[in-house]
């Protein structure tokens, strides 16, 4: 095959998600530029094909189809929200494409065509809760989230997990708010109340996107400091913080697999490149960007290994591929299409960065199916031959229908 290798970039550049996704588009473009500067891939140039699905979920599917069917891209990097991934999923499966999905998500999914380079719940939520429980001594929990699948699932998993750990039901408060919720007065006041029951209390926040700014502001104004009731967030990264006056937030926590403040040479190099690429001295990096960095390098390595960009070959080649991550360790693509990641807990600082306060001793492999949900306890995913199954039921010893069908279709 001649001509450039096409890399599809499927991130919203307008609409509500543009805030988060624009930087990811730039990241992929930067990585491509760098790869080209290093001589391309298999002797061919890489070319980014950027489209704007405009934060519109059906449009994601349409654009994915456009990328795969019209533009015939060899791989897609894209999506942020779960719903956009769910929307795209049937398309990549049908047209047998490759999708690298860089954001932490609720798990409960493993597709043959999708590689999940963000964290699964066991790579973010559970370690964070462990930290709070063991290191801070938290006994009472507020699980606050935006009302959609990721928080719902995460909270469900956490609830089960906490109860397994002996936390009483009345020590868990669950609260959901709509997207973009901006009036937190009542909820923060409730949290304050909940926290005055005599047990150390913490908030586990899966509050999404824009809603965080007013939330943290309200926390600050109602005088809830991190020493009283710490908040550990799973969706607040450097980029979100860059829009917040972080003064009052110092000490609140976030759990990620990467922080910009991580002290490693790979990271510093990446930051330097990023700042140079964007031309903005204040530009920040964040976890999903690292996920793209890892995903991109894994794909490159897999293509080199397979010596072709052919999707099936790459799919087979990529399992087991190991590349360095930005925190000084390595990430490996697991057979369930999730990767290994370290889990870091960081505290917000007044400069909008996180200071790492805790870290898992070794990397954690992502679980496609949670051990804490009844429906998925017995499921595993393994895309190697001969199993080739995204939801193999170990108890019944058979592959779930849909995946079985796909496997058949693939042969």
């Amino acid at each position: 095959e001649e001509g450039p290798i096409k890399v599809g970039v499927l991130h919203s550049l307008s609409g509500t998600m543009a805030i988060s996704e624009t930087a990811l588009k730039d990241t992929v473009e930067m990585l491509i530029e760098k790869q080209n500067a290093e001589g391309g891939l298999l002797g061919r140039e890489l070319e980014a094909v950027v489209v704007d699905p405009a934060s519109n979920w059906p449009l994601f599917a349409e654009k994915a189809r456009e990328l795969l069917a019209q533009e015939e891209v060899d791989v897609i990097f894209g999506n942020w929200t779960s719903v956009s991934r769910k929307s795209v999923l049937p398309v990549v499966e049908e047209l047998n494409g490759l999708l690298f999905y860089p954001v932490q998500y609720e798990g409960e999914e493993s597709s043959e065509n999708v590689f999940y380079t963000g964290a699964a719940p066991n790579q973010q939520a559970i370690p964070a809760v462990d930290y709070l429980m063991n290191e801070i001594g938290v006994e009472r929990w507020v699980l606050a989230g935006t009302d959609y699948v990721y928080p719902r699932t995460t909270n469900k998993i956490l609830e089960t997990y906490l109860m397994d750990q002996g936390v009483a039901k009345e020590d868990i408060m669950i609260n959901y708010t709509p997207f973009g919720h901006s009036d937190w007065q009542n909820i923060v006041s409730d949290i304050k109340d909940f926290g005055s029951a005599g047990k150390k209390t913490a908030v586990v926040s899966t509050i999404n996107g824009d809603a965080n700014v007013p939330f943290y502001r309200e926390l600050g104004n109602q005088g809830i400091s991190s020493t009283d009731i710490p908040v550990v967030a799973f969706s607040v990264g450097e980029q979100e913080l860059s829009g917040i006056d972080t003064g009052p937030l110092v000490g609140h926590l976030a759990a990620w697999n990467y922080f910009m403040s991580v002290d490693s040479d790979a990271n510093y190099d990446f930051i330097d490149e990023w700042i140079e690429y964007t031309g903005d001295e204040t530009a920040v990096t964040n976890d999903p960007m690292e996920a793209h960095y890892i995903g991109f390098n894994m794909w490159v390595k897999a293509v080199q290994k397979a010596e072709t960009t052919d999707v099936d070959a790459v799919k087979d080649a990529i399992i087991g591929v190991t590349v360095p991550n930005l925190t000084g360790g390595y990430a490996t693509m697991m057979p369930n299409h999730h990767i290994t990641k370290p889990v870091l807990i960081g505290e917000i600082q007044d400069n909008g960065q996180f200071a790492v306060v805790w870290e898992t001793p070794s990397t954690v492999a992502g679980d496609a199916w949670s051990d804490y949900l009844p429906g998925s306890r017995d499921l595993i995913a393994d895309w190697r031959a001969p199993m080739r199954c995204g939801n193999y039921n170990v108890k019944e010893g058979e592959c779930g229908a849909s995946a079985g069908e796909q496997a058949k279709a693939a042969e």
């Binding site: 624009t22 609260n175 005599g198 309200e218 005088g223 980029q239 002290d263 001295e281």
Partner: protein
């Protein structure tokens, strides 16, 4: 700075309480060694290291601890020198030598190792610092320190706190200290007297302590604690009601602010201005811009943003009016289409020119925190200002519409343009001025909102629907209606929220609007009579 006498005293106290952990030898440590110890300490040892610094009597000890608490202590990788980070933004940080305070200029972040701190340590640190503050001259500082100590008293400092109660001249501070002590006593010793002390307290920590006492085995303690809690609960209910009301008013005033400009451009002029949200956004970005222009003076910048935000949005409004709306006279519905286009353009403009990311708008000192009525009821200051601001803007607007010719002329022009012109009213000028006024007020709303929520390209989108809802609910063309509607909807929402949850509360409010309009098809304050039917 000489070592105050109290510090020696404090030192002794600490020595006594932590006897054995801090050996005499550590006393003589050089400052370098003290910092070294902090830098090298494993999580378990940090406590000792902090105490060592606190008791060292070094003149910079406090500065170190504060810097440490703020995550500002780092070690230069190559030399092992301990530095205090003065500015930690960007890739190169400005640092000063911890020992001498000498400014060492900028240093790449790569070359620095941060000395880690976490919340647990920070808590201890806060206790230690608060103890230090208890000796301050300023009563306010002492009071704050005492308040800070609530729930932070532990075995290490209990004696000292007890001692301070004796010495403390100020009654308020003394009460606080007693409360702090009582919390400790309730939690650790289950003292009945202490429960008594706490029974009037509204502070959440006190309640926490009492709650823990309720869980106790001892029936007497349990009963006493329950009784204390019950009396607190009583007071709390009242306070909660007041708080909810305040929340309602505050949400309401946000709605009013967002909608009031629209009440002019849409309500009075009849332009379905879909770009209203983006005009609000411009006001918010003006605030951000002002703060960028005046770094370090967020308060001044905010105040200057009020005229600036008005001006920027008003100019944008004039531009919209001149370039689009003037061509749509007599076609009000089409203004929807055009201004929708304008709104898309403005949004993307901000994304392209400034950034798709949210911008940081700093809340000035005097606007952050809250006005403490009592321990259970404190009114957040930023929202209080917003309520006041909303009322101010409303009054000013009301005066303009009532007292100046503009108010009369704009109504005449919208009701019958040709006739108004036949009466000699300069309709074009009236249009420009009114639209500018409405837009400017939207800008003011933006300035206020920048203190409450995100300043980003989506800001406007989040308020446009609510704004229309408020204007229409109040009755189109009626400014009072907008005020009442905004406050009503805000309050209803906040009243519902505690029991219905945020989502359901919002749904109920929307359904309420739908049903209410059935009852009053022309809003809260309808135009009655023949005139309205036309």
């Amino acid at each position: 700075m000489s070592i105050p006498r109290w510090l020696t005293f404090f030192l002794m106290v600490l020595l006594m309480t932590t006897a054995g952990t801090v050996s005499a030898q550590q006393q003589d440590q050089t400052p370098e060694a003290l910092l070294e110890q902090l830098a090298d300490a494993s999580p378990r040892d940090t406590e000792a290291a902090i105490k060592a610094i606190a008791t060292s009597g070094h003149e910079r000890a406090r500065a170190w601890l504060e810097a440490y608490g703020n995550n500002r202590i780092s070690q230069v990788e190559a030399t092992g020198r301990i530095v205090i980070v003065l500015n930690n933004r960007g890739r190169d940080w400005e640092v000063a030598d911890a020992l001498t305070g000498e400014n060492l200029g900028e240093m790449s972040r790569r070359d620095l190792d941060r000395i880690a701190i976490n919340n647990a340590v920070r808590r201890q640190l806060a206790g230690v610092l608060a103890m230090l503050d208890l000796f301050a001259k300023d009563v306010a500082v002492r009071e704050a320190a005492a308040l800070d100590l609530l729930g932070k008293v532990d075995d290490a400092i209990v004696e000292e706190v007890t001692a301070r109660i004796e010495e403390e001249p100020d009654a308020g501070v003394r009460n606080r200290l007693e409360e702090a002590l009582a919390i400790y006593q309730v939690e650790e010793q289950g003292s009945l007297d202490a429960i008594e002390v706490l029974s009037g307290s509204l502070h959440p920590r006190a309640r926490a302590a009492l709650n823990s006492a309720v869980a106790s085995e001892d029936p007497a303690r349990k009963a006493a604690a329950e009784q204390a809690l019950a009396s607190i609960q009583q007071k709390l209910r009242l306070n909660n009601a007041a708080e909810t009301l305040y929340f309602g008013l505050s949400l309401g005033s946000v709605l009013v602010l967002a909608a009031i400009g629209l009440a002019i451009t849409f309500g009075v002029m009849g332009v379905i201005n879909m770009a209203h949200g983006e005009l609000i956004m411009l006001g918010a970005y003006t605030t951000w811009g002002m703060q960028q222009l005046l770094p370090g003076q967020p308060g001044l910048a905010l105040i200057l943003s009020i005229p600036a935000g008005f001006l920027v949005a008003a100019l944008a409004g004039i531009a919209i009016e001149r370039s689009v709306i003037q061509f749509l006279k007599g076609r009000p519905l089409e203004t929807l289409l055009a201004t929708f286009g304008v709104s898309l353009i403005l949004q993307q403009l901000v994304r392209t020119v400034i950034s798709p990311l949210n911008r940081t708008v700093v809340t000035p000192e005097w606007m952050s925190g809250s006005l403490v009525i009592n321990d259970a009821l404190s009114l957040t200051l930023n929202r209080m200002y917003v309520i006041g601001f909303a009322l101010l803007v409303f009054t000013a607007l009301m005066l303009i519409m009532r007292r100046t010719r503009l108010g009369l002329e704009v109504r005449a022009v919208t009701q019958n343009r040709a006739m108004a012109r036949s009466m000699g009213i300069k309709a074009t000028r009236v249009d420009i001025m009114t639209f500018a006024l409405g837009s400017g007020v939207a800008g003011l709303a933006g300035v206020a909102l920048s203190q409450l929520t995100n300043v980003g390209p989506n800001l406007g989108q989040n308020y446009i629907i609510d704004s229309f809802m408020v204007v229409v609910f109040g009755g189109v063309g009626n400014l009072w209606g907008t005020l009442v509607a905004g406050l009503t909807l805000g309050t209803i929402n906040q009243l519902l929220e505690p029991w219905a949850g945020a989502v359901l509360a919002k749904i109920i409010v929307l359904v309420f609007i739908i049903l209410f309009i059935q009852k009053r098809p022309k809003g809260l304050f309808p135009q009655k009579g023949r005139a309205a039917e036309g």
